[in-house]
């Protein structure tokens, strides 16, 4: 995490200037104004001094103050984290709810029209830009049918479109992965043995095959979480969804160093935590794996 924040803190300072961003609008700074504000914000000091201050603050939970409004960064993040987590969790849920049954029906009847249809849809899903899908959903369900609010975070109905956008795109990859994993398991000897014992298809599939195919799939979903955060940025912009993605994006264009560093540190922590949870879940899925 230190490496990630160090890289981000360094990269964001390579170009641009937070003070000039403050002047964005209708005026122009002169050189003394720039120096004055630089000093007040503390960005006139050497990079390592600034970074050490941030890193020591990180250990005590003090992430500094936003350049833009003086608010503590930890508070800004606390305000935004529910939005992002709701979005990430609900899109993961949608994707799992869709990809598991689709992958099963596709793997069981490999080569059938169901399989072909599922693979075709997942290919279309993979090639979709998510902002386009988001705009189409808004036009159909927000403007045309008026079933759902086009943007914002008002109630549970607001979650549906952004979560579906992200969820559908995740489904496209998950279906392929889970299908491949299932096919591999279904061709193993113990499945053949289970079948020859006369076990019903249901038991073979859900008790023996799915559990063994789950390990690679769950690992992949954990890895996906990092990518999901990236997708969240765009979806949050289109749906005007208040979350960490837009917070980080604005912090980059404003060169609001404390906010960006703080957000990246928290996101890195979340990704690490999710992957740790997934490692622990292996033990539950497969009792042979002993976490301790």
């Amino acid at each position: 995490m230190l490496v990630v924040t160090l890289l981000v803190a360094f990269a964001v300072r390579l170009s641009g200037d937070p003070v000039v961003a403050l002047f964005q609008g209708a005026s122009a700074p002169n050189k003394t104004d720039l120096e004055r504000i630089r000093k007040a914000l503390g960005v006139d000091r050497p990079f390592l001094v600034q970074y050490t201050e941030f890193a020591t603050g990180l250990l005590t939970g003090n992430l500094g103050h936003s350049f833009r409004n003086g608010q503590p960064v930890s508070e800004l993040i606390r305000e935004k984290i529910p939005g992002t987590l709701v979005l990430a969790a609900s899109s993961l849920f949608i994707s799992i709810a869709l990809s598991v049954p689709l992958a099963i029906s596709s793997a069981v009847r490999k080569g059938s029209w169901v399989d072909r249809l599922v693979r075709l849809f997942s290919l279309i899903g993979l090639s979709f830009p998510n902002f386009w899908l988001a705009l189409m959903l808004i036009l159909i369900f927000g403007v045309g049918l008026r079933w759902l609010p086009p943007s914002g975070f008002e109630d549970w109905r607001s979650v549906i479109m952004p979560a579906t956008t992200l969820g559908l795109i995740l489904t496209a990859t998950n279906v392929r992965l889970l299908r491949a994993a299932l096919l591999e398991v279904l061709s193993t000897q113990y499945i053949t043995v289970a079948r020859s014992k006369g076990l019903p298809q249901r038991v073979v599939l859900y008790k023996h095959a799915l559990r063994n195919a789950a390990i690679p799939a769950v690992t992949f979903i954990g890895l996906q979480f990092g990518g999901l955060i990236g997708g969240v940025v765009i979806v949050e912009q289109v749906f005007a969804w208040p979350g960490l993605g837009s917070l980080a994006l604005n912090a980059i264009s404003q060169r609001d160093y404390p906010v960006l560093q703080g957000t990246v540190a928290v996101l890195a922590l979340v990704v690490v935590a999710v992957n740790l949870l997934i490692d622990f879940s292996y033990g539950l899925i497969d009792p042979r794996i002993n976490v301790s």
Partner: protein
């Protein structure tokens, strides 16, 4: 005299009663506005963003005010007078004004506001820079304050209508502290902020004790929606009443909405291609003039901007003090352009670069249009884009641009002084290379006097001279497009984004 005042107040009272009786009792209804950006702080001294002015103009008042007609008029000060050879400005304040929390407005609030702006708290923000000509503010009596000037500033009165000079309540500010004030401030304006969720919405409630008369609508919700298509979708779905920033590409969509209309308004923002005179062949005035003759700016406005723009001759719009109606843009004349290039011995196929920011979708099209025209007179054009912050902090001020670069200017004081000084005076932040003794002399002459007519003359002369030496290619004065639901009435569309809503009502 006293009787006169009495009669007047009786008259005013009856008139006021008459108005009150003829209307519904108090403000009603809810207005939803979709705007492009959340400035993240509602403190007047923290920002220059127009998105602050969209909202802040309803929360706060300044000593002077500038309405949608862009004329300066009394605000919280009823009148002002210049004393002691213009080194002191004395303001007589309006009586009986209250802040939205019930606090009284008087001279101490004015002093507190400017002490904060010119002190340490102001030093952290960008607004202080505008008011450094003020040395200090002195309370003379409860309703009289004096501004002591450290140097002359002929546009100071206009600047006092700016964001940074909005008056804040001392008691409330000290009570809640800076952080809470940033989120839910209090002013003397017609609406008070009551709920704020960053990057999502801000809610304002009507303040019936507003000195300028009670607002008509009860609640205003500003929603922050960065994506233009989504803003327009909210208008289509009937969930937003006023939508800011409709791009030209979506103008026809908004026109097609049955219960909404497209509202264009001319702005003060101007767009140009600035020439980098430190590069060859741009150091030759003939080449610079040739570039301007080569480009058909009218056609670019008619096609790419779909007519939502106005041609300009200098880098200012019609409402700018210093605008000269007699000065016309150089015409489109490709033959003359070719002749001038030949005269300057610029070989055919010479490469020139046009720079702009990567997120400006509309200017990308404009740049492609310009490139086409320049190619037609024998030049080879490269288009190059930069990330916005890098462009404005590293590329332009450090003279790392190509031969020409896109530049836009709001000119919020509506006075060419602001534009001209910061863009053409040597060694300014936005002017790393250009310098000319005649320009310097005209600027000094204009800055040294409060005689507005004389200033106007100097600035018109300056604009004419700048066109002669072709320091830039002025392109157009912008038109902002707004979308409005037809249930809204009484809305005057502001050219400067200061969207005042005190007289707006909704059906």
């Amino acid at each position: 005299m006293k009787a006169g005042i009495k009669l007047f107040s009786v008259l005013a009272l009856t008139l006021g009663l008459g108005v009150a009786l003829s209307q519904s009792p108090g403000p009603t209804g809810k207005l939803v506005i979709a705007q492009t950006q959340d400035p993240h702080s509602w403190d007047p001294i923290d920002t220059f963003l127009l998105s602050w002015g969209m909202v802040g103009s309803n929360i706060f008042d300044g000593l002077v005010d500038r309405g949608p007609d862009l004329k300066i008029k009394p605000g919280l000060a009823e009148r002002w007078v210049f004393l002691k050879n213009n080194s002191v400005i004395r303001f007589t304040l309006r009586k009986g004004v209250k802040f939205q929390n019930g606090e009284d407005f008087d001279a101490s609030a004015v002093k507190f506001t400017f002490d904060r702006l010119l002190g340490d708290e102001g030093a952290k923000g960008p607004q202080q820079a505008n008011y450094t000509a003020i040395k200090d503010v002195k309370v003379v009596s409860k309703y009289i304050v004096e501004f002591n000037m450290s140097r002359p500033d002929p546009v100071i009165i206009t600047k006092l209508a700016g964001y940074g000079a909005k008056i804040i309540p001392p008691k409330y500010y000290k009570e809640v502290g800076d952080e809470k004030f940033n989120n839910l401030p209090v002013g003397t304006g017609p609406f008070r902020p009551t709920e704020y969720v960053k990057d999502d919405h801000l809610t304002l409630e009507a303040f019936t004790g507003y000195w300028g008369g009670s607002p008509k609508v009860k609640t205003i919700t500003y929603r922050f929606i960065p994506e233009a298509s989504t803003r327009v979708a909210e208008l289509q779905a009937g969930r937003a009443d006023i939508v800011q920033g409709v791009p030209v590409s979506l103008a026809s969509v908004v026109k097609g909405i049955g219960d909404a209309e497209l509202v264009p308004v001319g702005t003060t923002t101007v767009t140009e291609l600035r020439f980098n005179t430190s590069m060859k062949p741009m150091d030759d005035v003939r080449v610079r003039r040739a570039m301007i003759y080569a480009v058909d700016r009218d056609t670019i406005i008619k096609t790419i901007l779909q007519g939502y723009g106005k041609p300009i001759a200098s880098f200012q719009g019609e409402i700018s003090w210093g605008f000269d109606p007699k000065l016309k843009p150089l015409p489109y004349d490709p033959a003359k352009a070719k002749a001038l290039l030949a005269e300057a011995k610029v070989p055919s196929g010479t490469e020139v670069e046009i720079d702009f920011t990567d997120t400006d979708v509309q200017f990308r099209e404009v740049a492609q249009g310009i490139a086409g025209y320049l190619q037609a007179v024998g030049l080879k054009v490269n288009l190059k884009t930069f990330e916005q912050n890098t462009y404005f902090s590293d590329i332009i001020p450090k003279n790392k641009t190509g031969h020409m670069y896109n530049f836009g200017w709001g000119g919020w004081t509506l006075d060419f002084d602001n534009t001209a000084y910061l863009l053409y005076h040597k060694d300014e932040y936005w002017n790393p290379v250009f310098s000319d003794p005649k320009v310097e002399a005209l600027l000094e002459k204009e800055r040294g006097t409060y005689n507005q007519k004389a200033r106007q003359k100097s600035m018109q002369e300056l604009a004419r001279y700048l066109q002669e030496i072709a320091i830039e290619m002025p392109l157009y004065q912008g038109v902002n497009l707004w979308g409005m639901n037809k249930r809204v009435s009484g809305w005057v569309v502001p050219p400067d984004d200061r969207n005042r809503l005190v007289n707006v009502s909704v059906k």
